[in-house]
Amino acid sequence: MSLTSLDPRVTRLNLPDGEVPLMAPKPALDQFETYEVFHQKKESAAYTYVGPVHAPNEDVAFLFAKEQYSRRAACVGLWVARTAHIQVTPYVGDGENVYDTLRLETPTEQSGQPEPYEIFHLKKRGKAHTHAGRVMATSYQGAVQEAKKAFGEKGPIVNVWVVRSGHVLQSAEEDKDMWLTVPEKKYREATAYKVMDKITKFKEQQTNTPAQ
């Protein structure tokens, strides 16, 4: 006997009806690693953190991020970075500046070619990290130091994320048309549903109809 449901899709699954043994616990990484996603609302705006996705690699993470984080609001660009590639400073209290509390050691010997790093700031706890800018450095430590010089004065900054630019998958100029029609998908917006007229008309009819 298979399960008959009110949902025809479920009935078609031919699921066993009745007791089933417990499911074996899901193995680690069954749901993959996580990637952090940043979106850009409009051309002039800074990239802002929107949340993570679970994905097997950055290409698939991008596919997932696009629909999970930019299907419902204006968007012109998306960045995706593997969580493991992002380094995080400690958090300080609201109103403070984390750069003031970091003991940044001057890198002793500049080794290797400087490369770009992306810097994200959290201005207030509970809000989202936003892109402060890009610095050139040879290490994460060095990048934080450069970031402090470049944009660490304007506090409060309660937390900083640092990631190598090479580790960020960034949508390209020619990808922008993928978001072009998002604002037109009114069927998933509250503003598309207006029923006051119907209610008013209904009430009028009720009052005009003598009680039986």
Binding site: R9, H54, L63, F64, K66, E67, Q68, T181, Y187
Partner: protein, 251 residues
Amino acid sequence: MNEQAIKDLLYKLADDLLILGHRNSEWTGFGPILEEDIAFSSMAQDKIGHSLAFYTLLHELGEADPDTVAFTRNANQFHNSQLVELPNGEYDFSLIRHFLYDNAEIIRFEMLSQSSYEPIAKVATKLKGEVKYHVLHANTWIRNLGSSTEEAIARLQTSLNEALPYALGMFEPSAYEQDLIDASIYRGEEAVKAAWQQRIRAVLEKTELQLPDLESITPITGGRTGSHTHHLQPLLDEMAEVFKIDPAAEW
């Protein structure tokens, strides 16, 4: 004029999109991972939205309104290819169908955005960006899964072999093929098919999947003239179950 030809073109575009969108929506809540569930649903919504855009053009040409056209016709009045009406099967089949369909769809939309028939050109130009994501999604999945585990490759290969005769049926020429080409409304199924082969071949070559010799496959046609598998009528009955409680009512 070419009105009959344009209507025929619009019906096959719209019916393909409606039925595929409906099929893909069946996955909502049942996908292999939450994120993919969301992505697949978005594309299903887009397909239904695209079909609505084409039914709206038909309505402007004097056909019934989109709801009536979509929810009250019988299977033999539908012009979709049989590919899109087949049941979803497992995710391998749904992905392969998505890959085969959308790689043709993007070519159609690119061609139609150049159409001499302006209403179609406008719709295609506007919606092209959405189809671009659908193709990116399909190709990324096929590239990833197509060179992964033995099981995944075997599943995709089986589904590919099963789907190909139906996929070739998408290119069934219509009675108006030459009229559309002559009037620069649409470049015709042969042109779509040729470009499609190149596109799918380019993706499959990066995987361990084998593309069979397409010349040796007999396309399964008939969908464009209302001949369908036994899967379509139950799909339509299900889709219209509530609508038909009172077709005159506003739901």
